[in-house]
């Protein structure tokens, strides 16, 4: 297991329980989706795994290590891609400067080696040398998210957290980024923790899924099993609310 979370609890400001005894695991090179509506605690789980929040209780094992080790060592195991591609890059930094900063920090590569590594990373996410010298504002949302993915993959992490990473993109770009994620996983063997409210994108990228509601896991299992034959009422509702061909956007439209 690259990630093992056991009995995770997060209480905000003394009384609000955001995450209430959640356990899940991601195998090496595996892909786990956490789905749920807004406020279900899925993003809090991701932020705790990434080290942006501290758990109230519970244990997190990354690569068999306890995560209280230093941030730099942790960053080489787990990386994160954020929802908002417009603000998750420093607006003053060119694409190559952004990647170079990370490579210089995490690898012992010399200048020339870093340069060729930047080329490889850009190629991995479907960009090329033309994009290396430009600023984020000169790129589209999809291109920026590609840069964010390249930056996250730069330290060669074993686990990538994708926090609603395609939610801010329009549908055709979403499909491109999802394909990119499938290809990147095949190419690098990185595992995914895929946080989303959108069940329709889960099947494409993930092997397993847990469904969260109000800080608890209501259902978990293989993606096909959970999406095709949901057992929990909440999961049935979620699956039923995916728009599909023949869906009538009116009251009482087709139900699963």
């Amino acid at each position: 297991m690259i990630l093992e979370v056991t009995d995770l609890r997060k209480v905000f400001r003394g009384d609000f329980v955001a995450v209430d005894g959640v356990s899940f695991a991601v195998p090496v090179g595996g892909s786990l989706a956490i789905v749920g509506e807004s406020g279900s605690g899925k993003t809090t789980c991701a932020r705790i795994v990434a080290g942006l929040e501290r758990a109230t209780s519970g244990t997190i094992q990354l690569d068999g290590l306890d995560v209280k080790s230093d941030r730099r060592a942790r960053a080489r195991v787990v990386q994160m891609v954020f929802q908002d591609p417009y603000q998750s890059l420093d607006r003053r930094q060119t694409v190559s400067a952004c990647l170079d900063e990370v490579l210089a920090f995490h690898t012992g590569l010399g200048r020339a080696e870093r340069r060729s590594r930047i080329g490889e990373l850009l190629e991995l996410v479907g960009l090329d040398q033309r994009h290396a010298g430009v600023l984020p504002r000169q790129l589209s949302g999809g291109q920026r998210q590609r840069v964010a993915i390249a930056r996250a993959l730069a330290p060669s992490p074993r686990l990538l957290i994708l926090d609603e990473a395609v939610a801010a993109l329009d549908v055709s770009i979403q499909a491109q980024i999802l394909n990119l994620l499938v290809d990147a996983r095949a190419a690098t063997g990185v595992g995914y923790l895929f946080i989303t409210h959108d069940l329709s994108v889960v099947r494409h990228v993930c092997d397993e899924v847990i469904v969260m509601r109000r800080g608890r896991v209501v259902e978990s299992g293989a993606v096909e099993k959970v999406l095709d034959a949901p057992t929990a009422d909440y999961t049935k509702k979620l699956v039923g609310s995916i728009p599909r061909p023949g869906w009538v956007p009116a009251r009482g439209g087709t139900r699963a």
């Binding site: 080290g51 607006r91 900063e101 000169q138």
Partner: protein
């Protein structure tokens, strides 16, 4: 996939036109004032301290374009030499208060918690104290001259810069790219120095430029009150004060010339700063 190209080249002339005539004129005046200050000893037609009592209160002439003062010193030369201290004072004030204010603001915004609360309260207290009063007090305690009022005013301008920069630093800090850098494992020092500060720099420049005008007026006021530079130094605030008795004698040139120099410089710097702020 198409790549958005950099905006097409803009010609300088069109760029100037886009700025508007007021900003252009103000910019040219700023540049001129700075050039005059830098090259003052070579531009001044006479020795600014050469006394010629027989030629006191000389009217406008080719030899003395602005006339002479009560001691027969050439007013134009004194105005030109005076630009040096009159610009250097506010410059030191904005550099010192800009550096101290920004360092306080960014560290308060980054560290947060009790440190932010403590810094903010100290700044509030300092803010409640009028800068001019502080400068006058310090000058009275430590003696008049160039340094004491400039140091006091630098201190007084720290909260003005720090308040704006803290708000901006808090906003910047909340942007997702800062969290992305934290997940990358970068230290707070690295993120502040390499990302927050460069992104805050344009705002700091604007704030400093706006404060420059205010600092200039404050320092001229201190000189006018006799707590700044002492005679026979050439300084615009001091010239306004020195010219005061002569106004009653019917020779207002000295005060008017120095006052006009202060007003034009302050307005020019402020117009340019406001224009930068609007972008």
């Amino acid at each position: 996939m198409t790549l958005a190209l950099a905006s097409p080249l803009r010609f300088p002339a069109r760029r100037l036109a886009a700025l508007g005539w007021a900003t252009t004129v103000a910019g040219v005046i700023c540049a001129l004032v700075v050039l005059v200050a830098v090259f003052a000893p070579w531009i001044a037609p006479h020795d600014p301290n050469a006394v010629d009592p027989l030629n006191a209160f000389a009217p406008f002439s080719a030899a003395h374009p602005l006339g002479t003062d009560d001691l027969g010193r050439d007013l134009l030369s004194r105005l030109i030499l005076g630009s040096r201290t009159s610009l250097a004072g506010p410059l030191v004030v904005i550099v010192v208060s800009g550096a101290v204010g920004t360092a306080l603001a960014v560290s308060a915004a980054w560290i947060g918690g009790w440190f932010d609360a403590a810094v903010s309260r100290v700044l509030d207290i300092l803010f409640a104290f009028p800068g001019l009063v502080l400068a006058i007090t310090v000058a009275a305690l430590f003696g008049a001259g160039f340094l004491a009022p400039v140091v006091a005013l630098s201190l007084a301008y720290v909260p003005i810069i720090a308040r704006v920069m803290r708000a901006a630093a808090l906003r910047e800090r909340s942007l997702p790219y800062v969290e992305a850098l934290r997940v990358q494992g970068f230290s707070g020092w690295h993120i502040c120095r390499r990302h927050l500060l460069p992104n805050l720099a344009p705002l700091l420049v604007v704030q400093a430029a706006i404060s420059f005008g205010y600092a200039m007026i404050d320092l001229a006021s201190i000189s006018f009150l006799g707590l700044g530079l002492q005679p026979p130094a050439a300084d615009w605030g001091l010239m306004i004060a020195n010219g005061q008795p002569s106004i009653l004698a019917g020779f207002p040139q000295q005060s008017i010339a120095a006052a006009v120099a202060v007003v034009i410089t302050v307005v020019a710097f402020t117009v340019v700063a406001e224009r930068m702020a609007a972008r």
